[in-house]
Subunit: 151 residues, 2 copies
DNA sequence: GTTTCATGTAACGTCAAATATTACGTAACT
DNA sequence: AGTTACGTAATATTTGACGTTACATGAAAC
């Protein structure tokens, strides 16, 4: 399975945006995130629809943060992105007629549910502000890694 | 992405096999698991290579359990199957040059590692025998769900 | 010993989900 | 008007899981 990496690069984008003093275009972000501008608009549009980002059309327009980094958890972002399956493994039949298979499914889904709950809880404990703090003090180096990065 | 369901149906197969008094062919298993005989051989071959199953060629041959259900955990099976990625989400870049992205990756992979550890721990607590016990008493009903099941 | 049953395995085909791309529409600034 | 930028539908590409075909090998039955 191809892993869904949207949460990963959206976070990356949000952090850079939170430090920029002006809005950033989809093209710029696509360059930094090594993806396509349309993908950026499509994905970040989900966050805009939730009021976390603001977009402005036309020259000088682009994307900017419209939320308090202290108040946005990774869990919230994960849920907005709507990643369906958190796991790459799963049961073969959702509602099996065989009782043996049903017993297997109960055990597997129960274990996976526990792990999922833990992961969501951890993601719920981490805010954008926490991530910003993670590299506080090395901002210069951080931005030097993207050509044409925010001044 | 398509979720890897091998652990799920291999368990299903092992449970049925553990109750059969004779070996079972790949064709039979493929019928019950709703898959292809070659897939059965490919997948269960991994377990045979680890000594958990025995195969016999020729008429009357097939697959049979060669291990103690008390001693085989779901974790062991998961590891033998070698499912690479447990999660359907992941970081975009494994070794990023951007420090911001690296900070994101650290947080994400750390949270995922915790969840993975929990899931593996849970799978390590469950044996084939536990699964067999789950439906003890309803054996007849269990087997009735597969036509031509073990007598 | 050859026919039949069954596994072993390489090679290739199919399918679904994530991502990428193309194309065109709309709004805003100059 | 022309340029910049987002909005979005439609389509293509990619990747990994799974399925299928084909053929080889070994064991039993006759």
């Amino acid at each position: 399975m191809k892993r869904d990496s949207r949460l990963s690069w959206v976070l990356h984008a949000l952090l850079h945006m939170s430090q920029a003093d002006r809005s950033i275009t989809s093209d710029q972000l696509a360059g930094w995130m090594d993806t396509n501008p349309v993908v950026v608009r499509r994905t970040m549009g989900l966050l805009r629809d939730e009021g976390l980002l603001a977009t402005v059309k036309g020259p000088g327009g682009g994307w900017s943060l419209a939320c308090d980094p202290e108040k946005v958890t990774l869990r919230r972002l994960h849920e907005i992105l709507g990643d369906g399956n958190l796991f790459a493994i799963g049961v073969k039949t959702e509602t099996p007629s065989c009782l043996v298979e049903a017993a297997v499914n109960r055990r597997l889904t129960s274990a996976m549910a526990e792990a999922e709950a833990l992961l969501l809880a951890r993601l719920g404990e981490i805010t954008l502000a926490d991530l910003l703090a993670d590299f506080a003090g090395e901002d210069g180096a951080a931005f030097a890694t993207h050509r044409d990065g925010p001044s």
